[in-house]
Amino acid sequence: MNDYIVIQREGFYTTIQDNKRIGYKRYGIPESGPMDENSYMFSNWLVGNNLNSEVLEITYNGPKIKFTFNAKIAICGSLTNIYLNKIKIKMNQTIKIKQNDILDISSCKNGNRVYLAIAGKINIKTHFNSKSTYDKCSIGGYKGRKLLKNDKIKIIANEIDEVKKLPEILSSKFTENNLIRIIPGPEYNLLDQESKNKLTNGFFEIDIKSDRMGIRLCNNRIKLLNKINMESSLITKGSIQLPPDGNPIIIMSDGQTTGGYPRIGVVSKVDISRLSQIKIRNNIKFKIISLRESENLIKYNKNKFITNLGTIY
């Protein structure tokens, strides 16, 4: 009954996220949800939750959390040192927590975020069909905001016996590959040949201003053939917008719902999770693939998930 997690140190930026907010883009409300959808899904699987359940998304530097109950948890995502009562514990597997244990999550090493799933439910209300936090409008999550020191959040714990390990084939190796596959966007042909070459031959640096709204790229400006006055239209997670300054922005979970900048490309669904973990100031490179190729990769991933997890969300 008195099952809580208590935030003893808040860390950089931790929010509650579930799958995503569906059906509210027509009111201008973004989908939110986890930046790294794969690590999010794996953490839920390890604790026996539905794969679209709510978890804590932890950015850069983690929080210190006290558990007032016996729990089962799992942490997936960026390599990070994690301590339970000052003893280092492993990621990517189910961990038993005892009443009054203290979990201390330090800085993300090779990525940006980790996902902490707790067996059971986080007892917060859904807002517009989702528990995902969208703090720009104080929607969802715990009080519509990031977690702060002394927050006490009620958990409806689920007793599970099974202890699982994430199959090796699924564990992400973020920094080894910064090649991101993209599908040409509706306005790709507004680029001249030189810009098209720059888009795929050049390296883009991830700008420090990147956040849950978008990954901002710099150091490789792309020019449009002509300046056009484009009508605002749908943008999705992974859409690469090109503002007049030539520095592309990749729209992410909290990104705006529509936009008036040319969409020169869209990141393949299979590379979005890896992209979200590439650290600020690192370089990425784009490779163009066709829609058909991207769909084949999705099919491959789907089979891999179903084989190893038994399900998918």
């Binding site: 509210y24 009111y27 720009k136 966007g185 509706p186 749908l234 999705t236 992974g238 859409s239």
Partner: protein, 233 residues
């Protein structure tokens, strides 16, 4: 409407954009609303979200459940069957108070200079039109209103404001827009409404619909303050 009159494109591997081919349909506002209703009514489990934009309909789908080609043929079938003959929603007319006082019309002097129009004239042009809601998007509750008087055509500000106050009404291109939340923004701010048109505590959070009409009526600063304080009571 027939399948031959629309154009379907992919937006990456999880999005679809439907637009009307040139020469078909003379009312994108009505036609897109119609397509939206046709497809929304099917409640397809593969579709995550349907977003009516100015003259396109955006669809987000789950690529683990269906691929682009399969979904396109499903959509074409739905459109061909025309299960609804006419858009059912009626068009509402909203009367929205606006105060053009310089305290709220943050850019009104600049607009007047750039357009070489007196403040009085530009206010008259702005409040004379019957606007139509072209789209809700970009930010929560942001209203794009079409049918702005041609003499008010002005580009967005070179440097967007870091924070535009809630209720601000701006002009940009051939549209006027309402910011229903404090947010950054690049529109030229001409005035402000004391009304709260977007509420995260209501579902849906905004009553005004795409396709509705909006007219503005001018109020003075004291009326603005009165409406505002009546609302908070």
């Amino acid at each position: 409407m027939v399948v031959n009159s629309i154009e379907i494109k992919n937006l990456g591997d999880s999005g679809i954009l439907i637009s009307l081919k040139k020469g078909f349909g003379n009312n994108p506002l009505k036609d897109i609303n119609y397509l939206d209703q046709l497809i929304s009514n099917q409640n397809l489990e593969e579709i995550n979200d349907i977003v009516p934009c100015i003259s396109t309909l955006g669809i987000l789908y789950n690529p683990y459940k269906i691929n682009y080609e399969e979904l396109v043929s499903k959509l074409k079938e739905i459109i061909d069957k025309k299960l609804i003959s006419n858009p059912i929603s009626s068009i509402k007319k909203w009367k929205i108070p606006i105060c053009y006082d310089q305290e709220f019309g943050l850019d009104i002097d600049e607009i007047s200079n750039k357009l070489k129009l007196s403040i009085k004239n530009l206010i008259n042009y702005h409040k004379q039109s019957v606007y139509q809601v072209d789209m809700i998007g970009f930010l929560p509750g942001f209203l794009y209103l079409g049918n702005l008087n041609n003499s008010l055509y002005l580009k967005r500000k070179e440097t967007p404001r870091v924070s535009v106050p809630e209720g601000s009404i701006g002009i940009a291109g051939n549209q006027t827009g309402i910011y229903n939340l404090n947010s950054p923004g690049g529109w030229n701010i001409i005035g402000r409404t004391p009304l709260k048109l977007f509420s995260k505590y209501k579902n849906p959070p905004i009553e005004i619909k795409r396709g509705d009409n909006v007219v503005f009526y001018e109020i003075k600063k004291d009326e603005f303050e009165k409406i505002k304080s009546d609302l908070t009571k």
